[in-house]
Symmetry: C2
Subunit: 340 residues, 2 copies
């Protein structure tokens, strides 16, 4: 446990290098099994000759209501997205609430309504739940865990493993990064900046379902949440033992996010999203998939942002706007805690 | 939402009348579906022609280490038990941690070791997980959510629905109630009482598996956790539209629990357990099941504590030691918050 230090720090929860250390040195070390070791958003599990996806996420976002969503819609979309990127068809969700004594029932109702709405839209049922109440001051308003089960068709089973990823594959991103993280930042009101920026919190299943229908060339899918786009492309480079090249000039950009990042000194590639998916696809199918994605609301601003390379294995290289190249590193410090 | 009041109170989390109101008036009202409406410990779900059990639980127990277990072993056993009482064979678990900044890594390691040990003993894999860290003061040390999936054989699918329960059935309990709740109470050190009392926290799957092997007459199974034995038998009476009679003289008793309850004015039938199961069985099989249970460590002190009646439907009648009869009501106030 030497690498982990003596105490949990806020960085252990940021989705970056320290989260990875905690997962590998503690959880995978003791819980040791082939499913967990894959470190996918969902575990892909054999059940009576079929394959199901199983995923879990706890949500501790602060504030619980923010432009574009709330902790409830975030919990449902987040879990639906983890199921969708594993190539599965989401079927069932569980919900566990931990609520602080004194929390307003009207707030809880608003959260529950949003959850029901998102689940209904996705055709998914919330089938089991749990409620715990803790004394005032022992949690922060409300925390929500959602776990989910999806069914994976045989031909999509290997998508979440990353083994299909190969040099030459194109990397697509369905819109500008950083909207969720920056909307949360703004909602906290800790700096004086007003914009119409909203979280991109949305269910990506309809978009991903369409991609998997129109192309057999999909190599990998991953939603870019904590740690942002940079964390996902680094994960691809490491997990698939390939190089990744990202072209900064091709990145879709939200002008509000850009301005806020410039003021605050953040890099939008590390900021959290809740409605962005990285799609790795065979080069021959890339433009077909691009066009199909752009026809769907959540994919309208999709761009090809880079490609898989056989050079600099395990590393991500960013071709900058100024024509230079630099390594796009893994996230080390934390930019924004409690964004999901 | 009138019945629920304006704010969440600690009683909304006690497993009694107010928890039920919250579940029915808010969660089931908005999440409306046939699986959730059944209000079983696990949802019984069709997946490609088979039936799986799916369950979730968040654990907020205080203190996190206590005689007989810790929050980690409790989380694994609790979820295994919810799967087992639905008649399923537990297969896979997820784990979601919410950890307070500054929490000792050595404590986390101790918790994770216990979880791994319990999961290994049960032959169940922890296949997916999530970690969130919140700032100091925003949660109380560590909260754990465990969700689980089990596979149900066709002949056991209706067990968790309660439809098999009928007048004449015998009610068995595998040991003295109240040990978990009272061990937690004692571990809080808020009153001066020393004993060797330990939580009964244990995986009940081996015991339940044996019951289902030796008898086709099992009508219903439920582990008696929050709200204790009284809450489970009231649930049976209400859900199955039958009367329940419990014979106080037949109840197995732990002398330490009895003394502590007398001092504190508690009723052991409402105190939480983490290793006790209520078994409802056809009268013709009752003694056979009783003897089979007594051969297994976690069932050694099993007793037949009552029976299902066609009288006083929806109510539980307690035949007291003094020969009288009284209604054993649902739990209204809260005896012990944060016991699981």
């Amino acid at each position: 446990m030497k690498k982990l230090g003596q105490q949990i720090s806020i960085h252990h929860g940021n989705g970056g290098v320290q989260t990875k250390a905690l997962i590998e040195d503690l959880f995978i070390h003791f819980f040791e099994n082939e499913f967990l070791e894959n470190q996918s958003d969902s575990a892909v599990l054999p059940v009576t000759g079929k394959n199901i996806a199983f995923t879990t996420d706890s949500f501790v976002v602060d504030p619980i209501f923010f432009p574009g969503g709330n902790i409830g819609s975030l919990a449902i979309c987040g879990t639906l997205n983890d199921l969708a990127v594993s190539g599965s068809n989401p079927l069932y969700l569980s919900v566990g609430f931990i609520i602080e004594e004194g929390f307003k029932i009207s707030y809880l109702e608003r959260i529950v309504r949003s959850m029901a709405k998102e689940a209904n839209q996705a055709g998914v049922k919330i089938v089991t739940g749990d409620t715990k109440v803790v004394n005032s001051g022992k949690c922060d308003k409300v925390f929500i865990n959602t776990s989910g089960i999806g069914l994976i068709e045989e031909k999509h089973v290997s998508i979440s493993s990353g083994i299909r990823v190969k040099p030459g594959d194109k990397i697509l991103l369905n819109g500008p990064p950083g909207e969720h993280g920056m909307a949360i930042m703004q909602a906290r009101g800790i700096f004086n900046f007003k914009s119409n920026l909203k979280s991109d919190c949305v269910s990506l299943f309809p978009l991903i379902n369409e991609i998997l229908k129109v192309s057999d060339g999909i190599s990998f899918l991953r939603d870019a949440t904590r740690g942002g786009v940079a964390t996902v492309v680094n994960e691809i480079a490491r997990k698939c033992k390939v190089g990744v090249e990202i072209d900064e000039t091709c990145l879709p950009v939200n002008p509000d996010v850009r301005v806020m990042c410039e003021i605050l000194g953040f890099d939008q590639l590390y900021i959290a999203n809740e409605g962005k998916v990285i799609v790795v696809v065979d080069a021959s199918d890339a433009y077909h998939v691009l066009n199909s994605m752009r026809k769907i609301k959540t994919g309208r601003t999709t761009e090809i942002i880079g490609e898989i390379s056989s050079d600099h294995k395990g590393k991500v290289v960013l071709r900058t706007k100024s024509g230079g190249k630099r390594i796009l590193d893994e996230l080390i410090g934390d930019q924004l805690p409690r964004i999901c």
